[in-house]
Amino acid sequence: MNKYGKFAILMAIIVGSLSFLAYSGIQGSTSYYKTIPELRKMGNSAQSRHIRVSGNVQGDSIVREAGLVKFNLVEEKETLRVAYEGRDPLPDTFRDGAQALADGRLGPDNVFHATEIQAKCASKYAPKPGMAPDQLQPGAKPAVMTSPMRSSL
């Protein structure tokens, strides 16, 4: 066999086995991103899948019980009841009003049973619209940000 044949075979083996690993690995480790309205629309099929749903933690909805944290996620005016049953304590960023990502399954009781919660770490790349702090909203009118070039016109 010539040397290029050897190279080709070796490379094919490497690339092939990696592709196999990548493809077969997809089964066990996918989770479906759903919004709360989408989750509602899915009906019973939602219960068979690993789902990742995001929303804002409703103010004052966090209830801590033994081994369980219950709270509501809100997105587009729809509310989802979530029960967090994971082992790890909740992240530092998890609190009222935070943006949270819950991993888990929807139960037959329509409660989302989460095994993992991520709360977005507020590294403040930019304030979310509508989440500007109170100081920035003097009076009724929201503060508008304008560039100096425009304001000096």
């Binding site: 690993l21 991103y33 530092d92 609190r95 943006q99 770490c121 507020a122």
Partner: protein, 668 residues
């Protein structure tokens, strides 16, 4: 004053445009004065951007709360150190920081290179300025850092700003972004030189020699930045992990992987004149992955634990990437003739082939990470469902890739160029190979059952043995000839060929990191709700709660558990994990208690207080310290690579045209 800053950015934009026009026109029309003015324009751009940056920093330091950027990223109580760091803490500022680093690099290139590369420089200036124009467009027109707060078109101010997330108030987190940016931006320079040499059809590999140090330093910055982020996650976040395949982490890893492939494959071009097209592709890929990484972290197309606001700049990045990649591909295709290879592959067991496989594997890992990161976006496009892949998938793929790479690290450098004889294989690999089998057998006999860890530790031994043998053989030769001690001989050896032996040290750093990663399956965890007087066990450690205390400062409330730690009945002293709750930010942070030893870390996190009980998470992380030791060795090795070799090297090469040069062959 903010108007001056914004004006400076506008002027910088115009002058960058001028720099492109002047250099290109000057080069094509052969008008040296025009090219010179193009080079000076680069310096002017640096001055202007520095002015803008200076104004932003001044506003941050003095707390000018009229400015939106200052108000949303600092508050008055913040230490000066963090106020300064707020420069790169937010979107607008960090883009300005990008521009500023790029302009600084541009100025350095012009000042150090203008005498040397008459033919290349105008193109380098033009390419760097084009990149600069893209970032200045963002800075000046899209996300200006100089926006002021206004109410009904009247400029207003706020009494105090929002401050910086307390989680980020940690030294590693302050220098982590600049390190990454120095890396991200730095690859623009080798890219510019590569493209310039393509455009002008410059003979030879001068662009590689010129930018070798530059590439290594940039690579070092990037790697250090990645590892600082990792160290921050481990020490601050309280979950004990150091890598979770988050999109932002992946974004920083991608260009680093491509650059690592580049650093290896340029050796093929330098020594054999092979893989010329490939190197062009690699450096371009590295550069565009840097832009892509910035795009990922700035555009919010992928959700991640790092918060990104949805922002309008995504489409600008897509546009820039599309134009840039299209232009590069066209340029390479158009100049294929000029990139002809000067030699052929001869054998599967050769240095050339090990480089080839090293590149294949690095690129495959790069592609895998890219694929996994983009999977939510791709699946949404093609199947309307947004599907994400978790860390299990990444590990499934990346662990075998990593192990194969580790194997190549051991064998590659010892294969001879062209082909390797059985005799040399036996000489180089007999003892390390036997040693590896002994290590594997011993680990298995010792009860270890994780195949990946066993393989990894076996390979680590193998690679370390080959590296030590290389150092030992080389220095013994010097030692016999000159009669100096073995240690001075080793230093002399390294000094003679810093590239080679520095490279070995870098490899050694990687091996040590693999040792650290191998400990991962043996992590032990315990979670307990404890009261004063309770005990809990993790691994062989016994933790006795001596006291639970709490208190308050002006910034935060704190809870501390005072734990008496013992192991097998022997007291090891006291650990005090603390939880803080910052009042203004309404945010908790963990002050993890760590007992670091070379064999394992005991890691205790005060997770929460429930009533009068404390929830403690205790972990034992075997071998994790070796990761950080490995990073230090890797950095040290990279510095060695940067020291000029004592013996100047030239490589015998077969040239495509004409008769082979008869350089005295240098045996390494």
């Amino acid at each position: 004053m903010e108007n001056v800053g914004a004006l400076a950015l506008l002027l910088a934009f115009c002058i960058s445009l001028y720099a492109i026009v002047a250099s290109v026109a000057g080069r094509l029309g052969n008008k040296p004065f025009l090219t010179l003015s193009g080079e000076r324009a680069v310096l002017a751009v640096w001055l202007l951007i520095s002015t803008a940056a200076g104004i932003l920093i001044y506003s941050l330091m003095t707390g000018d709360m009229r400015m939106a950027y200052v108000a949303s990223h600092t508050n008055r109580a913040m230490p000066k150190f963090y106020k300064f760091a707020a420069w790169w803490g937010g979107q607008e500022g960090s883009l300005l920081f990008w521009s500023w680093i790029l302009s600084t690099y541009g100025a350095v290139v012009v000042l150090t290179g203008r005498g040397k590369h008459r033919m290349l420089m105008p193109w380098v200036v033009a390419i760097l300025s084009s990149v600069q124009i893209f970032f200045l467009t963002l800075n000046a027109f899209v996300v200006s850092p100089f926006q002021v707060l206004a109410l009904d078109r009247v400029v207003t101010s706020v009494p105090d700003g929002m401050g910086l997330n307390p989680l980020l108030q940690y030294w590693a987190m302050v220098i982590h972004p600049p390190m990454l940016y120095l890396g991200y931006v730095g690859f623009a320079v080798p890219f510019a030189f590569a493209m310039a040499s393509l455009i002008s059809k410059a003979p030879g590999d001068s662009w590689i020699h010129t930018t070798r140090r530059w590439t290594i330093v940039t690579w070092l910055f990037q790697g250090t930045g990645i590892m600082l982020g990792s160290a921050w996650a481990y020490h601050v976040l309280g979950w004990g992990g150091y890598w979770m395949w988050d999109p932002v982490e992946n974004a920083s890893l991608l260009p680093w992987l491509a650059a690592t492939a580049f650093l290896h494959s340029v050796m093929m071009q330098e020594k054999k004149g092979m893989m010329k097209v490939w190197n062009m592709v690699l450096i371009a890929a590295t550069f565009f992955l840097c832009i892509y990484g910035t795009f990922l972290t700035r555009s919010g197309i992928i959700s991640s634990v790092h918060a990104f606001a949805e922002s309008p700049i995504g489409k600008y990045f897509v546009g820039f990437l599309a134009i840039g990649i299209a232009a590069t591909v066209w340029l390479i295709l158009d100049r294929l003739d000029y990139l002809k290879s000067e030699a052929e592959l001869e054998s599967v067991v050769s240095r050339e082939s090990s480089f080839l496989f090293n590149n294949l594997i690095l690129l495959a890992s790069c592609f895998a990470v890219l694929w996994g990161t983009m999977f939510p976006v791709l699946s949404e496009k093609f199947s309307t469902e947004k599907i994400s892949l978790d860390a299990v998938w990444f590990n499934r793929l990346m662990v075998p890739i990593g192990l194969f790479l580790l194997f190549l690290t051991g064998v590659g450098p010892l294969f001879a160029w062209r082909r390797t004889s059985m005799e040399s294989l036996r000489k180089n690999f007999q003892w390390p190979g036997i040693g590896m089998l002994v290590v594997v057998a011993a680990l298995y006999a010792g009860g270890m059952r994780y195949p990946y860890s066993i393989i990894s530790l076996g390979l680590c031994f193998f690679v370390l043995a080959t590296i030590f043998m290389e150092f030992f053989r080389g220095s013994r030769a010097i030692n016999e000839k000159t009669n100096v001690g073995l240690i001075p001989a080793m230093i002399e050896l390294t000094h003679r060929n810093t590239r080679r032996y520095g490279g070995y040290l870098v490899h050694m750093g990687m091996v040590l990191m693999f040792i650290g990663w191998s400990g991962h399956p043996f992590n032990q965890t315990a979670i307990g709700e404890v009261n004063k007087g309770d005990t809990m066990r993790v691994g062989s450690y016994l933790l006795k709660v001596a006291d639970l205390t709490q208190g308050e400062t002006s910034d935060y409330q704190w809870d501390t558990a005072i734990l008496e730690v013992s192991k097998n009945g022997k007291s090891l002293g006291i650990l005090e994990p603390t939880r803080r709750f910052y009042k203004i930010a309404q945010q908790g942070t963990a002050e993890v208690a760590l007992r670091t030893r070379l064999n394992e870390d005991l890691y205790i996190n005060y997770a929460a207080r429930v009533g009068d009980k404390a929830t403690l998470q205790a972990y034992v992380f075997p071998l994790v310290t070796w990761i950080w030791v490995g990073v230090v060795v890797l950095i040290g090795g990279t510095f060695v690579c940067l020291v000029p070799s004592k013996v100047a090297r030239s490589y015998p090469r077969t040239e495509v045209v004409g008769i082979a040069k008869t350089n005295a062959p240098v045996k390494v």
